[in-house]
Symmetry: C3
C-alpha cells in the first residue's frame, strides 16, 4: 500500500493508526519497550528521497524508521544531486529505486502529483512526505493526533483555523479530516486576500460540517477548543505590517482562550506566535511535532504489515 | 583489497562475484533469507564519500551495505562540504578516513585517478564508485551481470554498443570485459565525431575480439544479442537535431531486434529510448540497474572476506 | 548532561574519558571486541545536525556512534535545508529535535553560543561539535588524548603552539586543558598580527602555567615535547609570502625537534607542513585524528551512561 493523501483513510483506519501510535509511544517510555520496538523491523530498509529539502520531516521519518530497527538510506537534496538534474523522469527514478528492493520509500517532491506518479510504477510501498502544493498526509494525521491527545476525541470540537488559509496544504487536509467526524464546527480566521478556498468549503458542506469565516481573531480564539495557527507570509500580503499585527499571537492575545483549549501550529513559526506563549500549557505545537514521530512510526509499521 | 578498475578481475574472479550475487539475490526473495544476509556483516561499517554527487550509485551501495547488516556513514557532496574545499589533498582526506577504522570506504571523485591515489595510502579497502573520466568498475560488472542473466553466458555474443562511444567510461569497461571472453563480436554504432577510441580498438585487437564500426543503427540492431545504448549528449554534437533522430530508439526501431536480444542502457536516459519501449520484454535497463544491487552486495562481501 | 565546552571537565573526568577511549580502542583491535562494543548501545539513536558543514567532524561522530551500535540520523547542511532558512530560531529547532526522542544530539553551528542555547531547551543530551568562533570541546579533548598517548602524561611538558594564535578555537582550548595540569610550559610562536589573545594569557597566569611568546620557530621547536602547529591563513596576513616561509615546516625544519617530541596539527593542513614530514615518526597528526574516533566514542558512551 502507498500513502499518498490523508483522504485515503477512513475514520476507522485513522483510529487504528492512532492506537498504534499510542502503543509505540508507550513502549518508548522504557528501555525494555524501546528495545522491543527496535526488534520489530530489524533487517528492513527505508530509503528516503527528498527532491525538496525538508530537514524536519526527513529527520522525523528517519528517526521513526531507525527506532523500528530499520536501516535508513537517505538523500537530502535529490533535485540537485540526482539524475533528475540530467533530465530523468520521476517515473524512471522510481523504477530504479523500486529495483533496489527496499521495504519502503519515503519521497518528497517539489511538484504536486509527482509522488503519486512515482508510486504508480513502484511495487515498493511509497509514503508521500509532501508534494509541493499537493498533499502532506503525515502532517495531516499528526495534526489530528495532537487534537485527539488533547481532547480525547475528534468530534464535537470548535476548531479555529487561522492565518493564511489559501496557500499551504495543512489547512485543506485538516479541514478534510475534521469533516469526516460528526459535529465539528470550523471557524476560519483570515484576511480577505488569504481566505480559505472554495474546494474546502465545498467538501465541508457536502459532509454537513458547519463553518464560518471571520477576521475577528479575538472572538474566534474565545470560543475555540482548538486553535490551529499558520503564518501570514509577507510575500502574499498587500500591506504586511498593517495586517499581521492581529495575527501575531502573544501572551495577552491568547488570554481569551479556554483553559482546555490548545494552540497548534505546523511549524516553523516566525513571529506569528511569540516565544513567551510557549510556556503556556495550552501551547501544544511542540507536543504536536513530537507526536508526529509516533504517527510516522505507526504509519511505517502499518505499511510494512500490509506489504 | 581495493576495487579500482574492472580490469583488475580475471574471468574466474568475475564468475565468482556473479555466483555470489546470484546467491544474495536468491536469499533476498524470502524474509528468512533477508534476515540471514542481514547477519553477514552486522557490526561492520561502510563509509561512502562522494566528491561528486551521484544519488543512484550512492544509494545502491548504501542499500547493499545496509542489507548486509552494515552501518553506513555517508556524505553526498564532499567536494563542497569537506576539507577538500580548504585545499586538503585527497591523500590527506584518505589517511584521516583510514584512521576512523571502518571496514570499507566507497569513494567517488570528479578527477580521474583520484580514487586510486586515495586507496594507495589506505589500509582500509576502497571501492571506486567512479572517478571522473576514469573508471567505474561496479557499473562495468553490473553490465556484464545483466548480460549473463539474460543469455546465461558472456561468450559468443553479438554485442552492439551505440550512441556516444568517445566520452564516458562504460563503453570502454564493457568492451574490456567482453574482450576477456572468447568469441564475442562487437558492433560500434555511432556518428563520426563520437566514434570509439583507439585505446579500445587496440585491446580488442590484442585479445582477438572482432569488431566493426557503423552508423547504420537498423542493421546493427537486427543482428544483436545485446544492444547497449547510450546518450548522444547535445553538447558534443555539431548538429544535435539532425543526428539524434536515428539514435532515439522507439517501439518501431527496436522491432528489428531478435526476440532473445536485450536492450541495455547505463541510465539515466532522456530521449534516446522512448518510454513506450519499457513495456517490451527485451527492455532490460531497469533489470540491469536492479541487478547492480546484488553485484554491489557481492563486491562488498568479497572485499570484506578478503580484508 | 550536555558537552558544550572543554572547560566543563575537571582532570579526573578527563582521565576517565581517556581510560574509556583506551578501552574502546583496545576492543576495536579484535572482531570479538568490535562486536562487544557494537552491542553497547544497540537500539539507541544519535541525530547529528550540522548548520555548518564539516565532513570530518561529522563522519567521526557518526562512525563513533555506529560502532557503538547506535542508529544515526544525519543532516549535513541544515543551514540551507532546514527551517532555519525560513527564520526558525535555534531554540525552536532544538525543541522539535528534542521531541523526536533520540538519545543524543550532535550539533555544529556557525554562530558562537548557538549550541549552548539549543542545549538549554533540550532534555536530550547535546554535544557541541563546534560553534563558530566559540568552542569545539571534542577537538580539545582529542588533542589532549594524542599528547597523553605519546608521552603518557599531560604534565611537565614543554608545549609549542605555533601559527595563527588569534583565530580559531583549538589554541584556546588546548591552552586551557594544559593549564589544568601542573608544571606545563607553553611557548607561543607566531607573528605580531596573530599573537595569542589576552584571555588565554589571563587564565594561564591564574593557573600558574608559565608561558612565553616568540617568533623564533627554530628555537621553539628545539625545546619542545609537543609542537602544535596551525595554519597562517593568508586572509589575515599583511604580507603572506614574506611571513609564511618560516611557518611552513618541512623535513629540515623539524630536524631540530627532540626524538621523543611529537608534531601535531588540527588538520586540514595545506602547506604549513610539507607531505614529506608525514613519514617522520614524530609526525603525529594522523594518529591524533584517528584517536579522535575513540575519544568521541568515549564521550558518547559517557553522555548516555549519565543520561
Amino acid at each position: 500500500m502507498h500513502i499518498l493523501t490523508a483522504e485515503q483513510f477512513n475514520t476507522s483506519q485513522i483510529e487504528k493508526i492512532f492506537r498504534r501510535a499510542d502503543y509505540l509511544r508507550g513502549q518508548s517510555a522504557t528501555l525494555a519497550g524501546r528495545k522491543k520496538v527496535y526488534k520489530l523491523h530489524e533487517g528492513r530498509q527505508l530509503c528516503s528521497i527528498f527532491f525538496q529539502p525538508s530537514t524536519r520531516t526527513r529527520l522525523s521519518f528517519e528517526i521513526a524508521a531507525t527506532k523500528l530497527g530499520m536501516g535508513v538510506i537517505s538523500t537530502e537534496n535529490a533535485r540537485e544531486h540526482s539524475s533528475s538534474a540530467k533530465g530523468e523522469t520521476i517515473e524512471d527514478t522510481a523504477k530504479i529505486l523500486d529495483g533496489y528492493d527496499v521495504d519502503l520509500i519515503v519521497m518528497r517532491h517539489y511538484e504536486a502529483g509527482a509522488v503519486a506518479r512515482a508510486a504508480a510504477v513502484c511495487k515498493t510501498p511509497v509514503i508521500n512526505a509532501g508534494d509541493g502544493t499537493g498533499e502532506h498526509p503525515t502532517q495531516a494525521l499528526l495534526d489530528a493526533y495532537a487534537i485527539k491527545q488533547a481532547h480525547g476525541r475528534l468530534t464535537k470540537l470548535n476548531v479555529v483555523i487561522g492565518g493564511d488559509l489559501s496557500h499551504g496544504r495543512t489547512v485543506r487536509s485538516l479541514s478534510w479530516l475534521l469533516s469526516k467526524y460528526p459535529k465539528n464546527h470550523i471557524v476560519f480566521v483570515s484576511i480577505p486576500e488569504l481566505r480559505v478556498g472554495s474546494d474546502v468549503k465545498k467538501f465541508l458542506k457536502a459532509s454537513g460540517t458547519t463553518f464560518e469565516e471571520t477576521s475577528d481573531v479575538k472572538a474566534a480564539l474565545a470560543g475555540a477548543d482548538v486553535v490551529y495557527w499558520t503564518r501570514l507570509q509577507a510575500e502574499y500580503l498587500k500591506d504586511p505590517k498593517a495586517v499581521s499585527k492581529g495575527f501575531s499571537l502573544n501572551e495577552k492575545s491568547i488570554d481569551v482562550m479556554k483553559k482546555t483549549a490548545i494552540l497548534m501550529h505546523p511549524l516553523p513559526r516566525v513571529d506569528e506566535i511569540a516565544p513567551a506563549v510557549d510556556a503556556d500549557p495550552r501551547a501544544a505545537y511542540f507536543r504536536q511535532a513530537a507526536g508526529g514521530l509516533y504517527v510516522r512510526m505507526a504509519l511505517i509499521d502499518t505499511v510494512i504489515q500490509n506489504g
